[in-house]
């Protein structure tokens, strides 16, 4: 496939690995923020390949994983509401809330449907005028514009029964919060690819300027990640510190202005609760007053149960990069993909799920 296969080329990969070995002057702590990068790194065996030159740390870039228990409980309460169809992206189905999850609720008879696109939910609303369709709007800056688009479409069609439970979150404020916590020494950031396709590379400037940490916006193929790591090592070696774009075929400095405009039209920034990182100011999105009638929380009477965190789950520490899944007592035994305790094990981009599946400790 064009523009995919070329970035998986073995010869080029080997050349990059050699260069990295030649250029490296000490083992660097590099954090990949985005869950998809964690998967690329583990699936291709990059962690072991570069074990001498890098310590690759997984960050909080998995929107399913950073969804708080309380938000899950709210979603379950919505599903239990009379006359509701809850539309969700696939990953959310097995994420545990305090005492249930969406999969169990569906088995118990609630109308919960998986959608691949926000537009599918709008279509559902049109097709089911006697029901309320609630879209579980989860995701970062990559997904939020698609939800914005669907709200505008629902607005255009004059739909009265389309609602959105908005728990979108923003990446740069989370990276800032992580740095402020000061728990780990980060020598470089492998920045998300698709979030950056939307927001561009400028939002990461503050990291290079104020915290003196190099950033490289990276693509998702193995060569992209290898090249990005090379660029980070080079920056450190040459005493430079800036935000570079490795994923230049998809990311422009200014991002996607159409998408940004859509976001601004429909959403405004608010504080948000992140699993593992707590309350981060200005890190979430909520619907603007103009579109309030699409807000599920404001337009429904809900019975939400008291939320409790699961015992022994250290997803929080894993999301902050201070522990690896192996260090969790529940990992692999009590907590596994079939019967997960925490969301990091459920999402296909969750750190624990990736470690469980691709097991970097292969010898």
């Amino acid at each position: 496939m064009k523009y995919l296969d070329e970035f998986r080329d073995r010869r080029l990969a080997e050349a990059l690995v050699r260069r990295i070995a030649q250029t490296s002057s000490g083992r660097l702590n590099l954090m990949e923020v985005c869950g998809t990068h964690t998967v690329t790194i583990l699936r291709n065996g990059i962690k072991q390949l570069l074990a001498d030159e890098t310590n690759l740390i997984s960050g909080p870039g998995c929107p399913v994983c950073v969804t708080s228990n309380q938000d899950l409980d709210k979603a379950i309460a919505m599903a239990r509401h009379q006359g509701v169809i809850l539309a969700s992206f696939g990953d959310m189905m097995n994420v545990p809330g305090t005492s249930s999850n969406l999969q169990k609720e569906r088995a118990g008879g609630r109308d919960i449907r998986m959608v691949y696109s926000a537009m599918d939910a709008v279509k559902s609303a049109k097709a089911n005028p006697d029901k309320k369709v609630i879209l579980l709007a989860i995701g970062f800056e990559t997904t939020a514009p698609t939800i914005a688009s669907s709200i505008l479409e629902a607005h255009k069609q004059g739909l009265e029964n389309f609602l959105v439970f908005c728990i979108h979150k923003l990446i740069p404020p989370a990276m800032k919060a992580l740095l402020e916590m000061g728990e780990i020494n980060i020598d470089g950031f492998i920045c998300p690819g698709h979030v950056s396709a939307i927001i561009g590379s400028r939002p990461y400037q503050f990291i290079a300027q104020n915290y003196r940490i190099p950033c490289v916006v990276t693509g998702f193929e193995p060569l992209d990640v290898l090249q990005a790591i090379y660029m980070l090592i080079l920056q450190r070696r040459e005493g430079r510190c800036g935000v570079e774009i490795q994923y230049s075929r998809a990311v422009r400095e200014e991002g996607n202005p159409t998408a940004s405009k859509l976001l601004g039209e429909v959403f405004e920034v608010c504080d948000a609760q992140w699993r593992g990182l707590g309350m981060i100011p200005g890190s979430g999105l909520k619907l603007r007053g103009k579109y309030e009638r699409f807000d599920a929380l404001k337009n429904l009477e809900l019975q939400i149960e008291d939320s409790r965190e699961p015992q022994g789950c250290i997803c929080g520490e894993i999301l902050r990069g201070i522990k690896e899944p192996f260090e969790c007592k529940l990992f692999g035994e009590r907590c596994n993909p079939e019967d997960p305790v925490g969301p990091c094990m459920v999402s296909s981009e969750g750190t624990c799920a990736a470690y469980y599946k691709y097991n970097p400790r292969s010898e």
Partner: protein
């Protein structure tokens, strides 16, 4: 309508209003989120090829 590897699917183009037939796009959750810059893609690959000569 986009095509990838012989598979076709309907996709929302609201985020890339200037996309034309024949353009390569990035897909996410049923939408195109950005046009792929083919010139940049070739540049990146060229850079990587040069590494092979240098690193031996």
């Amino acid at each position: 309508m986009v095509e990838f590897g012989g598979v076709r699917k309907e996709i929302g183009l609201q985020l890339v209003p200037d996309a034309k037939v024949g353009d390569y796009v990035l897909l996410h959750a049923g939408f195109a989120i950005q046009k792929m810059d083919e010139g940049e893609a070739r540049e990146t690959l060229k850079l990587l090829e040069e590494l092979i000569e240098v690193s031996g």
